[in-house]
């Protein structure tokens, strides 16, 4: 028998929806364990921190996609455009003398957000297939520009000589990747807090509403166009910051940051992890990159095969990806008690 929930003093007599909202905002046990585990990784796996940083960056990137895909229902095949813009901004800004990594992040985020805001009318106008094509088209256009402008971007050979300064003026990016990992973790956590607060609030609920039933959302008075534009811009900003983090931790920008492969891999990571769950992106990124690291070395051809198979199976049978599966497991466990 479960006990009735304890109602905090300030909510006595408050309307029921407030209880629900407050309860949603509380940090679950799993969440706390997750973040502590990430900090523990620093101490437990000192020789794998580079891979860990790249997983976190991929996770942040996937989180940005989750905002528009999972919560707002916009299907895109070109999210790498914002990732790449952020990456190149962070790289190029060091070339003009700004070496502070945090300023680089701000610049990258700003450029990516601007791009997101400018392209949002294009994306919001059309139906699913049209959106797919437009986002794909924009990403490929940017790829071509980067490919041509060899003097600025280094073209296919990539942007060299990215010199990133000390984090907070104190910590150098070292060979082992220790500074990189903590830096990425801190930035990711900060942004995560922001996103979490946003998504758990009525704002986030309104996005879900838009995704599930557009007409009703309109009827209730949700300003659909501006909400979607804002979330798209925010998503672009996060993707840009993720790209900048990659540049700063590897001191290099390759043209693949804008490539189709990156967008496609991202989609797979998010789906495998589970959409609309905030953590799905991280879990998916971890599963994907770890599997790739292990399997690709065993047999490169089979990696693609198993990836495709995994995608098919997850789409058909595992609704909600890994996180969804875990949630169902948890619910089943609860019922058994």
């Amino acid at each position: 028998m479960k006990e009735p929930p304890v109602i905090p003093r300030e909510l006595l007599g408050a309307p029921p929806y407030l209880h629900v909202l407050r309860r949603r905002e509380r940090w679950g046990k799993g969440e706390i364990v997750f973040w502590i585990a990430l900090v523990a990784v620093f101490f437990l796996f000192p020789k794998n921190l580079l891979l860990a940083s790249q997983i976190l960056i991929a996770g942040l990137f996937a989180l940005s996609l989750d905002l528009i895909l999972g919560y707002a229902g916009i299907v895109t095949l070109g999210h790498a455009a914002f990732f790449g813009l952020g990456a190149y901004t962070a790289g190029l800004i060091t070339k003009v003398g700004v070496h502070d990594p945090l300023l680089g992040l701000v610049a990258a985020g700003a450029v990516a957000a601007a791009a997101g805001w400018l392209t949002s009318p294009l994306v919001l106008r059309s139906n699913d297939l049209g959106r797919l094509m437009i986002t794909l088209g924009i990403a490929m256009l940017l790829y071509e520009v980067a490919n041509r402008a060899t003097e600025i971007t280094g073209g296919v050979d990539g942007l060299q000589g990215v010199e990133v300064g000390l984090v907070l003026g104190l910590f150098r990016f070292d060979l082992l990747g220790r500074t990189a990992y903590l830096y990425v973790l801190a930035v990711t956590f900060a942004l995560f807090l922001l996103v979490r607060a946003l998504m758990l609030s009525p704002y986030g609920l309104s996005l879900r509403c838009i995704r599930e039933n557009n007409r009703r959302a309109q009827a209730v008075g949700v300003p659909i166009r501006s909400r979607l534009t804002n979330i798209y811009t925010l998503s672009a900003l996060l993707a840009g910051v993720a790209g900048a983090l990659l540049t700063q931790t590897t001191q290099f920008v390759g043209i693949e940051v804008l490539g189709f492969q990156r967008s496609a891999d991202l989609l797979i990571m998010l789906i495998v992890g589970g959409t609309a769950s905030l953590y799905g992106g991280f879990v998916g990124a971890a599963v994907f990159m770890l599997a790739q690291d292990r399997l690709a070395n065993l047999s490169p051809v089979y990696w693609l095969f198993w990836l495709g198979l995994l995608l098919i199976v997850v789409t058909l049978y595992l609704d909600g990806g890994v996180v969804g599966g875990l949630k169902r497991l948890a619910a089943w466990w609860e019922r058994r008690r």
């Binding site: 997750f34 020789k47 071509e144 060899t150 073209g155 905030l278 971890a286 690709a296 949630k327």
Partner: protein, 388 residues
């Protein structure tokens, strides 16, 4: 949010466990970073097979120590992956040498790691001139694009060609090749009557080739990466009858490299190219190389495999000179000025630039015993990289 992600976190942790590498003082560890999957999988295969072939032919022990290859997949043009792999090889696997690199961006990304960790890095394929300038610990055993392009321009001029139209793929190496050819050819006195850059994702060459035909040059210089672009161009060239119209086809060996020449079929007959290696090269070292490679793979080896073969030869030589104790700076000293008898001919490592100095051959595609080969008929000895 009731997420029992304890499992998730635990899974994360467990999955991180690395496959333990035995720390041994008796092995020389060679970390290979190559593109083993994706569209460039062929590059990685050739490089690793070439290295393995060398070890098969010359044994896996040198200076009393066992040589061990640790092969990592860069998955394609992925500099962030390449850099991470390099760092992991240095920190986790504690390798003595970092080798491989089918693609330039991957090689560039590793330069910083090489410098910081003071690890000798051998470039077995990537062909951009600048790579060796990025770190004093980088040495190359393959070739550079300008190095194999310039002789083509010189030979063209020598054989009476005065007007050339250039067409290259629109990406870094293509631009480099175009520039190298133009500089050398105009310096010799020739004229470039037109130039075209073809997008990498181009399926249809018809209009481009038509444009060239209409311009009526004496020859067309082509640079395309091996694969569909090379094949596509060759087909269009033949279909439009450019050879009949008197327009010769000049190119670098990338277009007719031994790995894909069979796929070009009879389209390729008569094509003249310049490169540093051909399977048809007549020498005992090449015969030994071909025999050893055949034991590792049934596919035809190409210049990338030879780059790897020579890279391993250089490493063995260094190991012998240093008696098996590999120190970064002393290894680089040993590399400088090294001369090797390679399956391609002679190979020297320039002491100042740490880049390769070799003979560039002019070849024509002919059928020998029913199969296609690049048959060498002229050469330019001791060509240094003009890009420096």
């Amino acid at each position: 949010m009731k997420l029992s992600l304890v499992r998730g976190a635990a899974a994360l942790a467990a999955a991180f466990a690395c496959t333990g590498v035995l720390a041994a003082g008796n092995t020389i560890k060679v970390g290979v970073i190559a593109e083993m999957s994706g569209t460039f999988a062929d590059f990685g295969q050739q490089i690793t097979n070439g290295a393995k072939a060398y070890m098969k032919a010359n044994g896996d022990t040198v200076a009393g120590k066992k040589v061990e290859l640790i092969i990592k997949d860069a998955t394609g043009p992925a500099p962030d992956v390449a850099k991470r792999l390099a760092q992991e090889l240095v920190v986790k696997d504690e390798v003595d040498f970092i080798v491989g690199f089918g693609l330039t961006p991957n090689a560039m990304a590793v330069a910083a790691v090489a410098s910081e960790a003071k690890k000798p890095t051998v470039i077995m394929n990537a062909a951009s001139s600048v790579i060796t300038t990025k770190s004093p610990y980088i040495v190359r055993t393959s070739m550079t694009l300008p190095q194999v392009t310039e002789p083509m321009a010189l030979w063209a001029w020598k054989s009476g060609v005065k007007k050339v139209y250039t067409i290259v793929a629109d990406y870094g190496p293509g631009h480099d090749s175009e520039k190298a050819f133009r500089t050398a050819f105009t310096r010799a006195g020739g004229e470039i009557v037109g130039d075209l850059r073809v997008p990498l994702k181009n399926p249809e060459f018809g209009p481009f080739v038509q444009r060239i035909k209409d311009a009526k040059p004496q020859a067309v210089f082509v640079f395309m990466p091996a694969g569909e672009l090379a094949l596509g161009f060759m087909k269009a060239y033949n279909e439009r009858g450019l050879a009949k119209a008197g327009i010769k086809l000049l190119t670098t060996g990338d277009l007719t490299e031994d790995g894909i020449i069979e796929a070009l079929g009879d389209h390729a007959l008569g094509v003249i190219s310049t490169h540093h290696y051909s399977m048809a090269h007549d020498s005992p070292e090449n015969k030994a190389f071909l025999a050893a490679y055949a034991q590792v793979s049934p596919q035809r080896p190409n210049f990338m495999a030879v780059g790897a073969w020579d890279g391993m030869a250089a490493i063995y030589e260094v190991a012998r000179k240093l008696n098996g104790v590999i120190d970064g700076d002393r290894a680089m000293q040993a590399f400088k000025g090294m001369a090797l008898k390679s399956p391609r001919g002679t190979l020297r490592i320039d002491p100042d630039t740490r880049d390769v100095v070799q003979t560039v051959y002019v070849r024509e595609v002919k059928k020998v015993a029913g199969k296609l080969y690049n048959v060498e008929f002229d050469q330019f000895p001791n060509v240094k990289d003009p890009g420096k």
